[in-house]
Each structure stands twice: as C-alpha cells, then as structure tokens.
Symmetry: C2
Subunit: 109 residues, 2 copies
C-alpha cells in the first residue's frame, strides 16, 4: 500500500495541468519521445522534459533510451496505487458512517 508520503508525491505529480495532460497522453499505452509529447503540448520541450522527470520521480512513468531518443511509458500500477489510497480514505469514511448509524439505531437518542 502506498504510504502517505508516497501518495502525496503521486498526487502532487498529477496536480499540475500540463503534467496531468502529459500523463493522460501516455494513457494510449504507447511509448512516446519527448519531442513527440512536446509537439502536442503548449509549452517548450524543456518544460516537457522537466515534467516528465517529475512524473518519473513520482513513479508514474518510466523511460528507456532508444538511440537518440528517449521513450516514456505510463506505469499502470501507479494509477492503482493512487486509487488504493483514495479507497483507503473512502473506506474509512464509510466505516465511520456505518458505525455511527449502528450506534444511533442501537439506542442513544
């Protein structure tokens, strides 16, 4: 399970619009080069490079050099990590509410 700090890092990585777009662009399952991704982005190649490194640090994408270019792919597991954390909080919330409901129904005005 993703620790709280890891989760925060993942969310932070997805928290920037440009980065989220890049991540979503990798959702096609294919491997894309920096230039390729930069062409579809409204910012400089350098900016894209920084964002991809950020995504990689957060474990959201992986890269591999291929000749003169580097191809990035989405790390699918990362999505499940993030969802896992959200599920955790959600479940905690649901559980608390269930207990409250039970408490009320059992008596105690």
């Amino acid at each position: 399970m993703a620790t709280s700090e890891t989760a925060a890092a993942i969310f932070a990585a997805l928290g920037d619009p440009t980065r989220l777009s890049l991540f979503a662009a990798l959702g096609d399952g294919a491997a894309h080069s920096i230039t390729e991704l930069a062409d579809d982005a409204p910012v400089t190649r350098q900016a894209v490079t920084k964002h991809l490194k950020a995504l990689e640090r957060a474990g959201l994408v992986a890269s591999a050099r291929n000749g003169r270019e580097i191809r990035f792919v989405m790390r699918r597991e990362a999505i499940d990590d993030a969802k896992g954390f959200l599920n955790h909080i959600g479940a905690q919330w649901d559980g608390a509410l269930d207990r409250l409901k039970a408490h009320v129904e059992t008596g105690e005005a």
Copy 2:
C-alpha cells in the same frame, strides 16, 4: 465526470503532505474545528486554516460555522471524482493494450 482541470485541482490539493494529512484526518466522518485539526498538526493554526481553505476551494471539504467555531467535513463525493478520473485513464490504457493484443493475435507478426 470530472474535467481535466478539475481533476488537476483535486490532485493538487491532495499533493501537499500537510493537506493530505488534514484530509485524511477528516476521514473519520466527523466534523472537526480548525483548532482541533491544528492541535494534531505540526504547523500553525494559520497554516491549517490556509490548507483547509485550499481543500474547500478544490471541493474536497465543506465547512459550516457553529457559534465561534467552524466545523469542517470531508466531501465524500470528491474522492469518487478523483477515482473516476484515474479510472478513466486506466481504462484507456487497458483498452489500448487490449487492442494491441488483438492486433497481434489476428496476424501481423
């Protein structure tokens, strides 16, 4: 469905460790006051106030004044919004991989 920008805002809100902690603290389903939350946080009450406002702007929590204090509660739906976005990307990825697999199996070495 959460738009891309909304999703980024949600993720950004959860992207800070302190804020994620506060949000998780509200996972017990109860309504907590600022001072209450600040007592369990490693930062100033003012910092907590700022973070709570940020969470509220992102739609992750809701607040209601009660006399001299303000009680914050988690907006459970927000979690599902975030999960929905992740599911979207995940599904896209899965779909792409399925198509690739089908493509390979249908012929084409």
